[in-house]
Amino acid sequence: MAKHQIDYLSSGGLPIALTTVDKLVNWGRSNSLWFLTYGLACCAIEMMASGGGRFDFDRLGTIFRASPRQAEVMCIAGTVSKKHAPFVRRLYDQMAEPKWVISMGSCANTGGLFNTYATVQGVDRIIPVDIYLPGCAPRPDTLIYAAMMLQRKIRSEPMNRKISAKRFV
């Protein structure tokens, strides 16, 4: 068939798409964020609500996983007590790289209203945080927005970024 006879429009536009490996990988990564559910207190209810039919978190390609081995985003929803801090860190360490953290709600960000001996005053004292989500409790829309911000962040960073500078150990 001669070149001018091919109907490009019928096959969805141009037959060739040009891209970079970075963009291709990041496109895949950012559209299949699997969340490690980390519901610790009331914020977790909002997190569950975002997963429900009304807000439908899954349409962003996100799936809540209960295993750190298969998750790449840790969404810390709620109050981290000091007793619990080592477990948070352990689960974070068990997640495969690359990984991101969303700190959801005032409690996870700064200790919130629990200005006491038993609460970790900000989860960034134990793990690096990518997105701080303000509010007490943040609505599901906010979490969805945070996921979209995270997608944007992932798309703009190099595929094989080094994250060692963000970690203590």
Binding site: K82, A85, T116, Y117, D124, R125, I126, V169
Partner: protein, 264 residues
């Protein structure tokens, strides 16, 4: 219909809080009037001896000597006070140098409540009643965790709310609300080790404080460098020059000013 008028001219002058550290008056101790409770308490007195009982706001309270707490509770249980509703302690160490451990009992058959109290010194041991009431098992663990009261013959007297290696008993009045040195650094010491204290820094307990160096070790705010440049140690000073998106002119940037050597 109107509400009765009250003059509000001096509302601002009246203090809302007269005394911040108001100490309420002790509630009066009244003699026991209830026949059923009185009967039971007399039996208790005969069996144990050295008890002291009274009413406070229609609640029967009885003090027994600390070594006989289990004996007294067993007797009350046989008298129909079959449920242990609550077990905890009150810290009177600062005023009287002692702790009070209380047991709230309920008798469903007699429709009465009774509070049994024992007075102990700090770190003094008393007998556990975990084999009599299942609810006492974790209540006693909690009491030990929070007040440091030791219960003899408890099946497993370990901390229940706080981590096992916690230092101090948080519900004692001498314990600071925001924690002691140990509490402030607990998670950092445990996860990273003491040598990282300086790197991570103190807990920020002021929610209104904004310090760009706070999260330096993660985000390195103010230490940004250009693409491909090596990380640097000096912080970039904050310049309050904002770029406005107006095509025709740029804002004056003092960093970029240059004195010409020669007139053009």
């Amino acid at each position: 219909m109107f509400r009765p008028y009250t003059p509000k001219g001096d509302v601002q002058k009246k203090p809302y809080h007269t005394d911040r550290f108001y100490v309420p008056k002790e509630i009066a101790q009244e003699p026991i009037t209830d026949e059923i409770v009185k009967d039971d308490l007399e039996k208790l007195e005969r069996a144990i001896g050295d008890t002291k009982s009274f009413f406070m706001r229609n609640e029967a309270i009885v003090y027994v000597p600390a070594p006989k707490n289990k004996e007294a509770l067993a007797l009350l249980r046989s008298l129909g006070y079959e449920q242990l509703m609550e077990l905890s302690a009150i810290d009177y160490l600062a005023t009287r140098g002692e702790l009070e451990v209380f047991y709230e009992l309920l008798s469903a058959v007699k429709n009465r409540r009774l509070r049994l109290k024992v007075v102990i010194k700090e770190k003094e041991a008393i007998e556990s009643v975990a084999d009599m009431w299942r609810s006492a098992n974790w209540s006693e663990r909690e009491c030990y965790d929070m007040f440091g009261v030791i219960f003899n013959n408890h099946p497993r007297l370990s901390r229940i709310l706080m981590p096992d290696d916690w230092n101090g008993h948080p519900l004692l009045r001498s314990y600071p609300l925001q924690g002691d040195e140990f509490a402030r650094w607990y998670e950092v010491d445990k996860i990273y080790g003491k040598e990282f204290r300086e790197k991570i820094g103190e807990e920020n307990r002021d929610p209104a404080r904004v310090d760009r160096n706070d999260t330096r070790n993660f985000a390195r705010l103010g230490y940004e460098v250009g693409v491909g440049e090596a990380p640097k140690d000096e912080i970039t000073p904050i310049k309050y020059v904002e770029k406005r998106s107006i095509v025709l002119y740029d804002d004056f940037d003092p960093q970029k000013q240059k004195v010409l050597d020669k007139r053009k």
